[in-house]
């Protein structure tokens, strides 16, 4: 579809969706009334900016049923966020919403080369987490043979992968790297592994991690993006070009805003990603602030898809740590580690001693960086400390730790441990 056609389709759907939400979600109706905007003011995508935002705070306030736009009796499923950043968000789906979500995931699988002949190993967690359910449903829609492995039990993952000839792996990138390393330890090289591609998401990962996974298992690693509030994974996915993720614009409108002012920013500018659901019926959020910082790219993609591409999130507006008064993003620390030739397995620990912040960075010390003297280790620590100071403006204490001592979870990697108890 040409970009103008997509926009026309979005406009048509948006008008209907705003009416649906206004009439069925009293909480959002109140927000619109307060802003002095009614459904009749929304005639197309250009009017989107008139609508109020929804953020995680509003979802907490309306927990558990306040954002429902259809009777509960029409809903067939809930999924939920992990609740690590506060109260859980519960998303509701009617059958139409489930189909829509699974279609989005099916597109991601097809973009990663999936067909009905493929064997898709889904080792995202099953249950409340959207990862397992989303890719599972998508794989069914494609017609692939689906292995509903869920996460964990790496020995069993490897056994099924090898015995049943899995061709597409779906999991978090940190778990993919873990499976890859375990395969290597067991003596399997890239040529011994039946996989051809992988669809990895649900946590931030770097180009270096991608390369590592691709080399370990001899596969092409595709990024996928999504959030429970929008349905789950599959809101955007990578094509074979691996240059940004195509957003399913027939179902979602993406905007980039200034996280401080809420002002809509032009394409190509870095800012907070905001999504509007166009088709979802049960839990249709309008202008939901994702907190993910990224850039939209409307250049034509050589894969032929005309949907806009989003960059990998460069950080989260709420991931930001304030340490000794300075704003620090984990992604900045990652960039320094890569540049200085350090391992990307790191952990940040924040604490407070005598009312001042302590800032410790633990990094796994790679064998190729090790000479055998105390001086060498001290130089490496000092060098990294200086590089971090020049990037961040504040100086962390750097600790080089033995390989594999930083916990590699089978779910999401824990990068920041904040012991400061800044909030009750």
């Amino acid at each position: 579809m040409a970009p103008e056609q997509i926009r026309a389709l979005q406009s048509e759907k948006l008008v209907k969706q705003v009416k649906h939400v206004y009439e069925n979600v009293p909480f959002y109706k109140a927000l619109m009334d307060e802003k002095g905007v009614g459904p009749e003011d929304i005639r197309g995508v250009d009017d989107l900016k008139k609508l109020p935002f929804i953020s995680k705070a509003e979802l907490r306030e309306t927990y558990p049923y306040g954002m429902l736009a259809v009777p509960l009796s029409e809903c067939v499923r809930i999924q939920s966020t992990s609740g690590t950043t506060g109260k859980r968000v519960i998303a509701y789906y009617n059958q139409h919403d489930i189909d829509l979500w699974e279609d989005c995931c099916a597109r991601a699988i097809v973009a990663a080369g999936g067909t009905k002949d493929d064997v898709v190993q889904v080792c995202y967690g099953y249950g409340l987490f959207t990862g397992g359910a989303g890719l599972h449903g998508g794989s069914h829609k494609v017609g692939s043979l689906t292995l509903p492995m869920s996460s964990g039990n790496t020995e069993r993952q490897i056994q099924f992968m090898m015995d049943l000839g899995a061709t597409i792996l779906c999991c978090t990138p940190s778990y993919a790297a873990y499976i890859g390393e375990t395969l290597k330890e067991q003596g399997y090289g890239p040529d011994d592994i039946p996989l051809k591609s992988g669809i990895f998401g649900a946590e931030p990962w770097t180009q270096e991690i991608r390369q590592n996974i691709e080399e370990l298992m001899g596969i092409k690693a595709f990024d996928i993006y999504g959030l429970t509030e929008m349905s789950g994974p599959g809101v955007a996915f990578e094509c074979e070009e691996q240059k940004g993720m195509h957003i399913n614009e027939d179902h979602f409108i993406a905007e980039i805003i200034d996280p401080n002012t809420g002002e809509v920013l032009p394409d190509g500018t870095k800012g907070e990603l905001v999504f509007t659901c166009l088709d979802k019926e049960a839990f249709p959020l309008l202008r939901y602030r994702t907190r993910d910082i990224c850039v939209l790219n409307r250049e034509k993609c050589s894969c032929g898809r005309t949907h806009v591409r989003m960059s990998k999130p460069m950080g989260r507006s709420d991931d930001m740590m304030i340490i000794r008064g300075v704003n620090v993003f984990p992604s900045q620390i990652e960039a320094v580690l890569i540049k200085e030739g350090f391992s990307c397995n790191y952990q940040i620990e924040l604490s407070r001693v005598n009312n001042s912040d302590t800032f410790d960075v633990y990094v796994e010390f790679l064998p190729e960086q090790f000479d055998d003297t105390v001086k060498n280790v001290a130089q490496k620590e000092k060098g990294l400390q200086a590089a971090l100071r020049s990037m961040l403006g504040i100086s962390p204490a750097v600790h080089l730790v033995a390989p594999k001592t930083i916990a590699r979870s089978e779910g999401k990697a824990v990068r920041v441990i904040d012991k400061r108890k800044l909030h009750d």
Binding site: P367, Q369, F370, D372, T373, V377, H399, L400, A402, K404
Partner: protein, 142 residues
């Protein structure tokens, strides 16, 4: 030819040394020497074993940060001033010593000195010229 030594990077935590020595014992590796450089946060365990190729493989497989390097090893008489004399010779030869440690030899009245220096070949040549016994094979270190 100098003696091979394995250095392992260890965090300053209880049990890390015994993890390594236990691992080597399980594989029947006999240690010829052992020395630890320690700081507040970490330590470096330096070992010389009878079968260095296997020892290195075992340590690598266990996933440790380590390296193998050649160090100079020589024998000094076990008497007052025995080491001082040799070090004076090395000093006069402008040899720079990064670190060193001593191991009591099985042979009566002598000790082995293991040192990391800036230039192995030159150091060994100076030692040989002055009639000091240089050990060049790990197996000879006993």
């Amino acid at each position: 030819m100098a003696v091979k030594q394995i250095s392992v990077y260890l965090e300053n935590k209880q049990g890390t040394i015994s993890d390594i020595t236990g691992l080597l014992a399980d594989h029947n590796i006999d240690l010829r020497s052992l020395c630890i450089a320690d700081t507040k946060d970490f330590g470096i365990l330096r070992i010389i074993a009878d079968d260095m190729t296997r020892a290195a493989e075992i340590i690598k497989e266990a996933g440790h940060t380590f390296n193998v390097r050649e160090v100079v090893c020589f024998t000094v008489p076990d008497e007052a001033g025995g080491l001082a004399k040799v070090l004076r010779i090395l000093d006069e030869g402008c040899v720079n010593i990064e670190y060193m440690y001593a191991v009591i030899a099985n042979k009566a009245d002598s000790a082995h000195i293991i040192a990391r220096v800036d230039d192995n070949e030159r150091t060994e040549a100076i030692l040989a010229e002055n009639g000091i016994e240089v050990i060049s094979e790990n197996g000879d270190l006993n």
